[in-house]
């Protein structure tokens, strides 16, 4: 049946090809509305609670080394040490690909940021972070979609969701385009790690899962593909292809202007580590991805603001598993050619006075940062920001000075 097998392959190739075509068909080839000066905005949602103190370490705080214990970074200058940003803060060594952006003034860090709510539940917090609210109101649309509704003209789709689905932050009345990669992602390391104990007791599935992980690690080591880099052979490297795709799509002159994408793997309760460990690998995947996106955007990067947000931070102290638990304040990366960067913003709250004796206190409400970007980069009027984009927040003033004049 060799003839028939060949035809079957052709047919399956068509099937798969069309899947990509289907996804791209969601991208209208038609005209997009022009936002001021063809500006771009990218929102990256770091799901799972990113440890802001690990990303941007307050090495100048006299309590830093003591409080962080085994996950404290070595001082700048030492082998494997943190990368000095100024006299007080230093970047995690795995975020090295972002250093040039900081030096060029295209990376602003907003430290001790929080999102205006007090929950340590991932599910609730992510819903609030994306809906832009401090309390649950059964809101089913996201703040970025509401912002889009103030920019949108005509039928063009300005918004773009990159990944398998449209995140809540971009869901709502205004239709957005979407792009998804073909095929399955290699499963996330955290996911397989969580699955392990459930399967361990299963006489049929336990042994085969173990065997499967071993085989996959083996083949990726031999084949030298990126999947070999992560601890379990999965995970952090899944972000780069998404980020790169986002960059290419945003670069197109007639393409979308406002994109949202996700990265997971931040819930580091176990083996978070310092310069090595799971968090270090996640930072490396994140930084590689952001760098790839900026490269893919080419000249459009000059017109861009990229901002990251996570649902909450992590405990200051290390827990019994060389990890950290759910906390309060974290940090934000604000990047791009339009950003007045090369500095760390926010009043450092200090490690001597902690929220509930365990968490970094919030110095900056992330919504003020988003408002500053929406006002100064996209020209949305502050009244609408306080009533429509982030309802009931008229008293939260936009953060000044994020965007280059």
């Amino acid at each position: 049946m060799s003839c028939c097998d060949a035809s079957r392959r052709d047919f399956l190739a068509l099937l798969v090809g069309s899947s990509g075509a289907f996804a791209l068909a969601n991208l209208p080839g038609a005209v997009f509305a022009a936002v001021p000066g063809d500006r771009r905005l990218v929102v990256v949602l770091l799901r799972g609670a990113m440890d802001g103190m690990a990303a941007v370490a307050p090495v100048g705080d006299r309590l830093y080394a003591e409080k962080r214990g085994s996950i404290a970074l070595k001082p700048p200058g030492e082998a494997g040490g943190a990368l000095a940003l100024d006299n007080f803060f230093a970047l995690h060594p795995s975020l090295a690909p972002l250093s040039p952006y900081y030096r060029n003034g295209e990376l602003l860090i907003v430290h001790a940021s929080g999102n205006g709510y007090h929950t340590r539940s991932h599910f609730d917090a992510q819903d609030l972070m994306e809906s832009g609210l401090a309390e649950k109101h059964g809101q089913s649309d996201g703040w970025l979609n509401r912002a889009l509704s103030l920019l949108q003209t005509g039928n063009a789709r300005l918004g773009l969701a990159v990944g398998g689905s449209v995140p809540l932050v971009l869901r709502g009345r205004v239709e957005v385009a979407s792009w998804e990669p073909e095929g399955f992602h290699a499963a996330d390391g955290d996911f397989i790690a969580a699955l392990g104990p459930l399967y361990a007791k299963d006489p049929l599935l336990g042994p085969v899962l173990k065997e499967g992980i071993k085989a996959q690690n083996f083949s990726s080591t031999v084949l030298g593909d990126d999947m070999g880099k992560g601890g379990m052979g999965f995970g952090p490297n899944a972000f780069k292809p998404l980020a790169e795709a986002a960059g290419k799509l945003l670069a197109a002159p007639q393409g979308p202007r406002i994109a949202a994408l996700d990265m997971g793997g931040w819930d580091t309760h176990v083996n978070q580590g310092a310069e090595n460990g799971r968090l270090a690998q996640n930072f490396a995947g994140f930084a590689d991805g952001i760098d790839a996106m900026a490269q893919a955007m080419g000249p459009a990067w000059k017109e861009t603001v990229l901002v990251t947000v996570t649902e909450f931070g992590r405990t200051v102290a290390v827990n019994g598993n060389n990890g950290t638990d759910h906390g309060t304040a974290s940090a934000m990366f604000v990047m791009g050619g339009r950003v007045k960067g090369g500095r760390v913003a926010g009043d450092w709250p200090g490690l001597d006075r902690l929220e509930e004796d365990r968490d970094l206190r919030v110095a900056v409400d992330s919504r003020t940062v988003m408002k500053g970007i929406l006002r100064d980069h996209l020209g949305i009027e502050p009244g609408a920001l306080g009533s429509r984009v982030f309802p009931g927040t008229a008293e939260l003033k936009p953060f000044d000075g994020i965007i280059r004049a």
Partner: protein
């Protein structure tokens, strides 16, 4: 409600259906067995009205073969793909959304029993229509009617080569020197009726093939192009002897009589009972249960409503909850049902292709295997976990994983699975863990 009764509700909904939709367990819990039996009289899922009949797609395939025009081929392939996508989405959506999931499960079971597979590319445009036309109407009817509908369907006659089988002594055979093709005759005996150990010989295979000569597909010149047609000029004349019984030359009626006799053969009852028991009870079902189902099959003249009821009423089916490992097809439908989201066709096709169970592409006429040993491997288990994560990541509006876990697994949800879901860093991660959990991987 006692714990075993609560477990029976989950068992009924997952084993006879696919997975509980939110609220379904509560409705089933007062009488799980009664719910399952009631399914046999329930209204079947409705399918989109615009799916093309097999005859139209068969005629198109015949035209394409006649013309051999490369330019047209591309266009025809596009159209076949569009029809295929519409068919699989309709099929999976029906299973994911119906209130009578047992009828969908039975449709999939019998469609697999009478496999027509796009592995032979010329049937790929109408393999799904075959299921709708020959299988679906008969899943609670008589086995003999389904057998006849399946064997005389153009898709089956083309797939197993009977459409071009010519009696050597028939008018056409004498004139053109062509001969018998035994493929369909053999598979009817081996796969569709008696089973490989059903006590038939090579002579029986040849006899059945001769009996079925002339069963073919109306040619393009015909008004009924693409429909079933009996061609007397292809039919082998003379009496044939099949399984010790003589069939006089009666043209088309000869094949109908032979199939009716095969349907009521005791070996067929045993073969069908064993397959049903393997599907619904366990990879290795108790022999006495199989014997009982076979006895009901024989006593009722192959009444599939009574036969399925015998499966539901057997003690064995309730004895070992979650003993059956889900096939990929089953897993995908269960996840759609539990989450309330059925992805569009391209993702369904891609999912099932990568999980190695692309609908209507079984590797052989024997259909897809129905036991854990065939589906569990290190690679496949990892692949399934990856799929669960991908699926969860593509839900447009992910529901609360704890609520969905409770609604779909109820009493069967393990405590450590629940804890893991609660600890998950996002809704999507929680849902991925639920779908990949050992209990959700089974039924």
């Amino acid at each position: 409600m006692t714990a075993p009764a609560a477990m029976n509700a989950v068992l009924a909904v997952t084993r006879f259906g696919f997975a509980a939709r939110p609220g379904e367990l509560d409705r089933v819990s007062s009488d799980p067995r009664g719910w399952a039996l009631g399914q046999l009289r329930a209204a079947p899922a409705s399918l989109p009205a615009d799916l093309p009949p097999a005859s139209r797609m068969v005629a198109q395939m015949l035209e394409q073969r006649r013309d051999k025009d490369q330019g047209d081929r591309k266009e025809a392939n596009e159209q076949i793909r569009a029809v295929y996508f519409a068919e699989i989405e309709a099929r999976i959506r029906a299973a994911a959304e119906t209130d009578a999931p047992l009828l969908e499960r039975l449709t999939h079971f019998w469609s697999n029993h009478f496999t027509v597979s796009g592995f032979r590319p010329f049937v790929r445009g109408f393999a799904a229509a075959f299921e709708r036309e020959a299988i679906r109407p008969h899943v609670t009817g008589r086995f003999a009617d389904m057998l006849l509908a399946a064997e005389r369907h153009p898709a089956m006659l083309l797939y197993l080569d009977n459409a071009q089988s010519v009696g050597p002594e028939s008018m056409a055979g004498v004139r053109r020197g062509k001969g018998i093709n035994e493929n369909l005759g053999r598979e009817i005996l081996e796969l569709h009726t008696l089973g490989v150990d059903g006590g038939y010989t090579q002579q029986d295979v040849e006899a059945l093939a001769r009996i079925l000569t002339g069963w073919s597909v109306a040619r393009l010149a015909s008004r009924d192009a693409g429909e079933f047609e009996f061609y007397p000029q292809l039919h082998e004349p003379g009496a044939k002897r099949l399984l010790g019984r003589t069939y006089d030359d009666r043209g088309y009626a000869e094949g109908v009589a032979a199939l009716r006799d095969l349907a009521s053969h005791p070996a067929t009852a045993r073969h069908v009972a064993a397959k049903l028991a393997r599907h619904f009870i366990a990879d290795d079902p108790p022999p006495e249960t199989v014997a009982h189902i076979a006895a009901v099959f024989s006593a009722t003249g192959g009444d599939l409503k009574a036969v399925t009821a015998a499966v539901i009423n057997s003690d064995a089916v309730w004895a070992k909850p979650f003993d059956k490992f889900r096939t990929p097809d089953d897993l995908v439908i269960a996840a759609c049902r539990a989450s309330g989201f059925t992805p569009p066709a391209p993702m369904l096709a891609q999912s099932l292709k990568e999980l190695n169970q692309l609908p209507f592409y079984a590797p052989s006429p024997a259909g897809w295997p129905d036991d854990a040993a065939s589906w569990v491997s290190p690679e496949s288990v990892l692949r399934r976990a990856e799929w669960c994560e991908t699926f969860a990541n593509r839900l447009p509006d992910p529901p609360d994983p704890v609520e969905i876990a409770d609604a779909s697994l109820g009493e069967a949800l393990h405590d450590d699975t629940l804890q893991a879901i609660r600890r998950a860093p996002s809704r999507r991660d929680g849902l991925a863990l639920l779908f990949a959990s050992p209990e959700f991987q089974r039924r």
